[in-house]
Subunit: 140 residues, 2 copies
């Protein structure tokens, strides 16, 4: 089967707040939005931010039925950019989990949450190729 | 800034169990693995499954600090395939959250968790273009 993820959907509690964070923090523009969801066309997949009661109903789970630890990552092209992006995200409603530093496995990264608590790692990893479309290839 | 997600990292408690689920259920092969993590090269991004205590330490959060509702989706090419993939995933350690049916917004989908509780939507959405590399383009 195709090694393919089509969508990442994050449950959110306030759509306007969430859109401000993704627009002002990351500079991302929705490809579609209505009064309960925004979709962002990403690098070969789609990011959705959907009111969490709607998402929970669609998933057939209680809103308190929470998943385990997880993180999304966005890669940038320098250590300085890691620091700058984390600072900007914190300025627009993010919460810093970990200031940027060098992990044992190499590179440079920090973690910030979006306003709904979803964790984003902002990372610089010079080994990973990212093309002009944003397509990311694993490497060590 | 590039609308790019480089990695989705899921915290897991048992690496062998998780690899069995992704290998036997989805048929996906890791591009890298050691005794604490497996990486899968996906459609222009990377899926990581990492022991949750390691991920939590990297994120600088407590293991009980859990994020809100979220789901990943994998799209297939027919309603029958949705049903078949859900059944196969349930056979290899998944838990069905929602049997496949037609949501109000169109298409056909069901939800299943991986062995660590992370939710996967298995979906058929004829409006969305998915190319031979698995790159997904939003459409309505």
């Amino acid at each position: 089967m195709q090694q393919q993820i089509s969508v990442i959907t994050l449950g959110i509690s306030d759509l306007a707040r969430s859109k401000t964070f993704y627009r002002e923090g990351f500079g991302w523009k929705p490809v579609f939005e209505n009064d309960e969801i925004a979709f962002y066309q990403m690098n070969g997949l789609v990011l959705g931010t959907w009111l969490q009661n709607k998402l929970a109903a669609d998933m057939n789970v209680s809103e308190s039925g929470r998943p385990g630890t997880f993180a999304l990552a966005h890669n940038v092209s320098s250590q300085a950019e890691v620091t700058a992006v984390l600072a900007r995200l914190a300025d627009v409603g993010g919460r810093i989990l970990r200031k940027a530093d060098a992990p044992p496995h190499g590179g440079f990264r920090g973690y910030v949450t979006d306003p709904d608590g979803h964790a984003w790692e902002i990372a610089f990893n010079p080994a990973w190729k990212i093309d002009e479309r944003g397509l990311v290839t694993f490497a060590i």
